[in-house]
Symmetry: C2
Subunit: 242 residues, 2 copies
């Protein structure tokens, strides 16, 4: 496909659109800034051994019946009957989770992970591990797709801005190219957001949703870049540290 | 749905995503800046009586066999066997088209028109009729969805910017509200593009595609706002002047 030797980096706005991009990219970066992929970065950097992402509550309950620790979130709230959701803080300094495998199902993020699972490499991106991830991606010499989780099949702003940050970094190395308008738009949105993520996203729909749920502390944490040097990667159905 | 009395204006990036928005909006503005909806505005303001949009080449050929004037475009080119495509210039000062009905099928735009056809009002938007359309939309007191045609199921920049211009105008009247991140993103993209559409879109994928087809004159025309005061509206399968 490429006329030059550069690798491609592109942005896909929602899991539904993944079929338009599939099979052209060796690395898929799954992004769900508020909050699944932020929580996964936080968990693995605070001693959780692995995250097992599952798509449905039924699968989550099955794991629970087998004695697994299970986290479940829908529409921003912990699902009744489960102990944790996808707040990054649930995974910090939590001795019960140390060196354990935690099963996780969320509204959007685990769906995106499931859709991308057949790619050669599926890694987890968020603002929390942005710089570290960017450096790793640029060293791989592979085609990269940033897959935003969106919100219930729709475009969301925070994932797109994170994807735009990755796209912008890789393009600026001179070793990547991009041909999709979605990637150009993500870059433009990132460039206008980068000096003040919180302010830029104050009107975004999902941030409003989480503020209504009194999750301001989570939002602030998830929108503060580079708090951890971890690259979570999906291997045989489990997300572990690279 | 609305907690206040304002109407909603939202932006849908592609026809594929229309099902996420359907039925909530009385007015759908179909946008295909390069070039279907620009051509339709141009045609109706230069004396063409009606445009009959059809989705497939088979339908177009059927009309042709019945003696209709038929325009057909695929991937930026006039389809073999047809006389015109979707260049706005084809419809100007063309005596053979004066007061005639012209059947039109294009890669993206007529697909979007077809998908939206069950809305109460389907109107045609482009940069060419932007201000005139905005004033009419703001006077209607109805919920407005800007439906971008995209490019082969994918997001495109030029339609999104046009949608963002409409969204921004209506929000600024104080009588509209918006809750979707896609609408916020479209507004941001419009605001950074509005002083230089041509420059901003120089890297967009479809513009590159059309430049390769030597359609620079078309691009310039389609990206120059407010060249006509016409609101094309779909009535009983035909697009006519409102």
């Amino acid at each position: 496909m490429n006329l030059d030797k550069r690798n491609r980096v592109e942005v896909c706005f929602t899991p539904e659109e993944y079929s338009n991009f599939k099979n052209e990219f060796e690395i898929v970066v799954v992004i769900d800034v508020l909050r699944a992929t932020s929580a996964i970065c936080s968990a693995l950097s605070h001693g959780v051994k692995a995250i097992i992402p599952v798509r449905t509550l039924e699968e989550a309950l099955e794991y629970k019946s087998k004695g697994f620790i299970v986290a479940a979130e829908r529409k921003g709230k912990i699902v009744e009957g489960f102990d944790i959701g996808n707040s990054p803080f649930s995974y910090m300094n939590n001795p019960t989770l140390f060196n354990k495998e935690v099963v996780l199902t969320t509204t959007n993020g685990t769906k995106a992970l499931d859709i991308a699972k057949d790619a050669d490499f599926v890694v987890v991106g968020s603002l929390l591990n942005l710089d570290f991830l960017n450096k790793w991606l640029s060293s791989q010499k592979k085609n990269v797709l940033c897959l935003c989780s969106g919100w219930q099949n729709k475009f969301n702003l925070e994932d797109t801005i994170c994807a735009g940050a990755i796209m912008n970094f890789l393009i600026n190395t001179g070793e990547f190219t991009s041909i999709e308008d979605s990637s150009i738009a993500a870059k433009y949105l990132y460039l206008s957001a980068k000096d003040n993520y919180l302010g830029y996203l104050k009107s975004s729909s999902h941030r409003r949703r989480l503020i209504n749920l009194k999750l301001n502390k989570d939002i602030k944490y998830c929108l503060t870049p580079n708090q951890t040097n971890v690259i979570p990667i999906l291997k045989n159905g489990k997300i572990i540290k690279l």
